[in-house]
């Protein structure tokens, strides 16, 4: 069944980047844990206008004022932060996806912590590492290799300037 807690949208400082709008969660089953945390299991999808998360199990914690912390576990769990079109002189932002065994998104500080074979793509670039922090509001990615491992980034050079023929 579809249980979607409604939250009236209070005008906030219009940080254009923060995901706003109603958040809907769909899952095959839901369970109210005692500390006010709701546990969704089975094909869980949490979507808001710009941010979508999905996974096998969601632990949703309401933080008041409409803020929440969602902890998604999946094999893997996914995150999609849609891109924004270019406006005026600010260039377009490519969509960002993330996946990992565990995604923890805190709507107040707007940071998604991806861990467990974390992999984030921004446009055609791709970052893999042990843990990756994606600041959704500032679209900033910080990755760390974790114990001994290293972060790997594959950047597809967007060919704004035509690449020079041949390499030295």
């Amino acid at each position: 069944q579809d249980a979607s807690p409604t939250r009236e949208s209070r005008p906030r400082a219009a940080e254009r980047l923060r995901p706003v709008g109603p958040v809907t969660v769909t899952a095959t089953s839901v369970d109210w844990a005692k500390n006010g945390m709701m546990i969704y299991t089975g094909d869980v999808k949490l979507s808001s206008d710009t941010l979508n998360l999905d996974g096998d199990r969601l632990e949703l914690e309401q933080l008041g004022d409409g803020e929440y912390r969602a902890r998604i576990i999946g094999k893997p769990a996914h995150l999609l932060h849609s891109g924004t079109p270019a406006s005026g002189e600010t260039p377009a932002d490519p969509p960002v996806t993330a996946r990992g065994r565990t995604l923890v998104f805190d709507s107040k500080n707007g940071i998604a912590d991806i861990s467990g074979d974390a992999r984030v793509t921004r446009g055609e670039d791709e970052i893999t590492g042990e843990t990756i922090h994606y600041n959704v509001n500032e679209r900033r990615i910080q990755a760390a290799g974790g114990s001994g491992g290293q972060v790997r980034i594959v950047i597809q050079p967007n060919n704004r300037a035509a690449p020079a023929a041949g390499t030295p």
Partner: protein, 742 residues
């Protein structure tokens, strides 16, 4: 001596060709542009600015930069490193104090760098390296050397070096060459090769001091004029004689090739006149069956080689050939050759009348039927020659016709062959001085006589106790030539050769057609060879032979007496190869009536191609001509040092004819060799002694065009003139290969 110490430092930790894993396995071209980053941690802002921390490596295609921290701006694809970083691509590795590199257009600036050219084994330091988009690199305030990291034997200091990998060229400006810390050369502009393509440039100096020339400095310059022709210009400064310019060139046509050389000494202070050497060798094919071989050599005066030759080989030259030979080989079975030939004799002990005759021209026609009738083939050797000679001597034309029948049966176990020819030789003589030829009869003398020979041999073999294969071939040869008085025939091209093994089967005791010796001879020889069953190499072989004259010959060269009847000298030759690198040879020619060795030759030889070491010792004795010992060796004494020496001593004249001592020290980035030489050079037995040095800085000139080694070369022709270019660089030709296999 390419030991471990020759490898240049490797700055980059991982092999240059990075192992690339990429999630979606883009195809090659697209992969080529992808940038792969590895770091302990990374942070990427929205505008594409990334800070990469902790043993960072950024790779794109074959380029790679690694450092502790790297800032990367994806918008402009600009890498910035303000700490030590290592940049590498297949041609250039740069360890720099600070670096800016644009991955998009492959340009970059590196400061305070050490660099390595891995493909060239060269390295250096540079205040600032600018890599341009087209791959050219400009290095300012730089040093360049091919010496390994622990040795600064030599380096090139320059305010500016440009490296152009595509052209394979390095260009240095305001360059000082330091050898052992001492500046030995300042050149405002200097190019050096970055690969093995043929490239114009300085070769290596040879500095010497001889009593004939005083200080003798040669510094050849190689000019790569075109893919199929090049030249070497060798300025040569001699303090006692003056400045000489030697130019030599090579050319490759689509079906021929040749070399030309012209050395010119404007004013020889000792000789008082100008002196020159001209030399041309040419060979080409007009068609599959028609070929031309031409050679020309001329010196301005007979003492040229003695004064300027500088090597034992060149100063012993006594004549220079000039000839052009056209050969037509018909696929059927005949061959026509046309030759024009004369000589410049430069042995001033020879008076003009003894100069060799010029052959202007000589036409030969040699034919032999291909198929046989009753195992017999018919053949004809015909020759027309017009002999000319300056000075008061008989000249004339000679026609020699030699039709013959040859019977031959050649089976495995035995062979028999015999030849019967009837030879006519006619002359048309002219005597410019009207003194030598008295009457008409001598105007056109002629001679006609048959020559009958028969030959047979048996062939045996067996397996010896050690398993080796041994062959045994006894052979007999009989010759009958009637006597005809030939005293009034001129002597144009006839002489008596050495009496050796090949002469036992000769159908004429002389070479040349002016005299045919009468003969009633029987020759017997036996040859045996033992072959190693594993390698097939000859372990040892022995040949013995003797000629028996049933009657004394009566034809003889003027001033020589004809051989009398009976057994001639007994000839023996033994060759013995042992211990895989050693070989010995004994040749003996025993005269039964004088009971002494007419000729004896004992030689021991050591050749080890792997280590390049050689040793020879020989004793040569020919009654009335020479008795000499000849010792030479060329041995590596360490991985860098090599010494060589040769001494030829004449026991008969109790004089050392040539002595030579040489040494070379070679490391992987430079080589120096020195040679002291003393040899007889003048007709009066004057001695020329000299010492030569050669310095090679590897990498500053194309590898392989070093210098003709001063140490004695093993085989082939001695280099007529020292410093002859080691021609490792062969010419290429746009059309297909010039070699023609039949």
């Amino acid at each position: 001596a390419d030991g471990g110490m020759c490898t240049q430092p490797r700055y980059s930790t991982t092999p240059l060709t990075a192992v690339v894993e990429s999630a979606d396995g883009g195809e090659e071209r697209e992969l080529d542009q992808k940038i792969f980053v590895e770091a302990d941690s990374a942070s990427m802002t929205r505008e594409g600015l990334s800070q990469l921390m902790g043993s960072v490596r950024v790779r794109q295609g074959t380029k790679e930069i690694s450092a502790d921290n790297i800032d990367y701006d994806n918008a402009q694809q600009l890498i910035t490193v303000d700490a030590e970083s290592v940049f590498s691509n297949p041609e250039l590795v740069i360890k720099s104090g600070s670096a800016r590199f644009n991955l998009n257009d492959n340009s970059g600036v590196f400061r305070d760098s050490d660099f390595v050219l891995p493909t060239r084994g060269a390295r250096g330091t540079s205040g600032e390296i600018r890599v341009a988009t087209d791959g050219k690199a400009e290095l300012r305030k730089t040093s360049y050397t091919t010496c390994p990291i622990n040795s600064n034997a030599w380096y090139l200091e320059a305010s500016d070096i440009r490296l152009d990998q595509d052209a394979g060229l390095g260009t240095a400006r305001h360059a000082r060459l330091r050898f052992g810390g001492v500046p030995i050369l300042y050149v405002p502009w200097f190019q050096f090769p970055l690969d093995d393509r043929r490239r114009s440039g300085l070769l290596f100096p040879t500095i010497g001091e001889t009593n004939q020339t005083g200080v003798d400095l040669r510094w050849p310059v190689y000019l790569n004029l075109a893919p199929n022709y090049d030249a070497t210009v060798t300025p040569r400064l001699m303090t006692r004689r003056g400045f000489m310019l030697g130019t030599s060139g090579r050319y490759l046509l689509n079906n021929g090739e040749g070399r030309a050389q012209f050395d010119y000494l404007e004013d020889d202070k000792v000789f008082g006149k100008s002196r020159s050497l001209t030399r041309v060798d040419h060979a080409n094919l007009f068609s599959r069956n028609l070929g031309l071989e031409a050679t020309f050599a001329e010196v301005s005066d007979p003492q040229y080689f003695e004064d300027l030759g500088g090597t034992f080989a060149s100063s012993s030259i006594t004549y220079l050939e000039r000839s052009a030979r056209l050969t037509y080989q018909s696929p059927a079975s005949y061959r026509v050759t046309a030759l024009v030939q004369n000589f410049q004799t430069i042995d001033n002990g020879i008076s003009a009348i003894d100069d060799p005759y010029k052959r202007l021209p000589q036409i030969r026609f040699d034919a032999l039927t291909r198929n046989t009738y009753l195992d017999t083939r018919a053949g004809l050797n015909a020759e027309y020659v017009n002999f000319v000679r300056d000075g008061a001597s008989v000249e004339g034309q000679r026609l020699d016709l030699q039709p013959y029948l040859r019977y031959q049966r050649d089976l495995n176990a035995w062979y028999v062959s015999s030849q019967v020819d009837y030879r006519y030789t006619g002359y048309k003589l002219s005597d410019p001085t009207q003194s030598l030829l008295a009457n008409q009869q001598q105007q056109s003398p002629s001679r006609a006589l048959p020559v009958v020979s028969a030959e047979g041999g048996l062939r045996f073999d067996r397996i010896t106790s050690t398993g080796a294969i041994q062959t045994l071939e006894p052979r007999v040869f009989a010759l009958y030539v009637p006597y005809e008085n030939q005293d009034q025939l001129p002597l144009f091209d006839t002489g008596e050769p050495d009496f050796d093994f090949t002469q036992l089967f000769a159908r004429n005791r002389f070479f040349g057609e002016d005299r045919i010796s009468d003969a009633r001879n029987l020759t017997g020889t036996v040859t045996t060879r033992v072959i190693d069953p594993e390698t097939g190499d000859m372990q040892w072989s022995a040949s013995f032979g003797q000629l028996y004259r049933l009657e004394a010959s009566r034809v003889a060269l003027p001033g020589q007496d004809a051989p009398d009847s009976g057994a001639t000298d007994f000839i023996g030759e033994i060759n013995y190869n042992f211990l895989s690198h050693w070989s010995a040879q004994v040749i003996g020619q025993w005269s039964p009536d004088r009971a002494e060795l007419e000729r004896s030759n004992v030689a021991l030889r050591y050749r080890n191609p792997a280590s390049g070491s050689r040793f020879d010792i020989a004793y040569r004795d020919r009654i009335g001509l020479l008795e000499q010992t000849d010792v030479s060796f060329n041995l590596p004494v360490s991985s860098a040092w090599r010494i060589g020496a040769r001494s030829r001593y004449s026991i008969r004249d109790e004089k050392t004819l040539e002595s030579f001592v040489g040494a070379s020290y070679e490391t992987c980035c430079w080589a120096i060799s020195a040679a002291y030489r003393r040899f007889i050079t003048g007709a009066d037995g004057a001695l020329n002694n000299g010492i030569y040095f050669q310095l090679e800085l590897k990498g500053l000139s194309r590898i392989g065009t070093g210098f003709a080694s001063l140490l004695p070369s093993d085989d082939g022709d001695d280099a007529a003139t020292p410093g002859a270019l080691g021609t490792a660089n062969n010419l290429s030709n746009n059309s297909n290969g010039s070699g023609r296999s039949r």
